[in-house]
């Protein structure tokens, strides 16, 4: 058995005006690997929302994308403040984004719902003061 293909990105929390780099790179790689456009688009959307959330809400983190024979798995792991109420955070429209971030067009409270809608599975593990780890898969 060969090792599954894996891409790992250190997502910086410094600069949210250039965020999205990891997602754009993943999209490019998946396209080169010949995945169907619909699969790529779903991965790209879910990954971008997760990446941006790490930048905006958690001061950055690590994004790992693994290509398994039957699915693409995305893991977004941060050491941010954690999510107090996951059920509430998952609701469309819920956002704690500050004004300066909202001015950039974020803060609709649609990121987590977009991640859910575009993936086949999504698991959120979060502990206040420790961080958040989100695991998502898209079946291929």
């Amino acid at each position: 058995m060969s090792e599954p293909l894996q891409f790992v990105f250190d997502v910086s929390g410094e600069n949210f005006t250039s965020a999205g780099e990891a997602s754009v790179t993943v999209k490019k790689n998946l396209r080169m690997l010949g995945f169907a456009p619909d699969i790529i688009r779903r991965v790209a959307i879910a990954m971008y929302e997760g990446e941006i959330n790490m930048v905006i809400h958690a001061g950055g983190g690590v994004a790992t994308v693994t290509v398994f024979p039957d699915r693409i798995e995305m893991v977004l792991d941060d050491r941010g403040p954690g999510i107090a109420d996951i059920e509430l955070a998952m609701r469309e429209g819920f956002s704690t984004a500050p004004d300066n971030i909202r001015n950039l067009g974020f803060g609709a409270g649609m990121g987590l719902p977009n991640m859910k809608r575009n993936t086949d599975s999504m698991k959120i593990e979060s502990e206040l003061g420790k961080g958040t780890k989100i695991t998502m898969t898209v079946n291929t």
Binding site: Y48, F106, A108
Partner: protein, 109 residues
């Protein structure tokens, strides 16, 4: 209809047009990025007044055919260069979003 064709018909100013032959099939208007990300169809012409670089990332990831910055909203040079770098069709129009969408609906049938 191709993006180039739409641009000509609607007198759009091309800020970046790396893919003039891209087919545009519909339109989407909005400024909230996650909203656009979740709802804009692939191949749409996205009308917005937002002009920061995250717009380019959203356009790239959601696979829109073109972004049209309406109301002559000022687009920073670095945003234009990122659009070119990422292969994103980016235009500006003096029309308000509503007027632009009305005009777009006349050319995309």
């Amino acid at each position: 209809m191709t993006v180039k064709n739409i641009a000509e018909r609607l007198s759009l100013r091309a800020l970046s047009m790396p893919d003039p032959e891209r087919e545009a099939t519909c339109g989407y208007a909005g400024d909230l990025l996650s909203w656009v990300m979740g709802r804009a169809a692939e191949g749409s012409v996205w009308a917005t007044v937002m002009t920061n670089v995250n717009v380019i990332a959203v356009a790239a990831l959601a696979d829109t055919a073109a972004v049209v910055i309406c109301e002559d909203s000022a687009v920073p040079d670095d945003v234009i260069s990122v659009a070119k770098e990422k292969g994103i069709n980016l235009f500006s129009s003096e029309l308000p979003i509503y007027e632009f969408c009305v005009a777009l609906s006349q050319v995309i049938k």
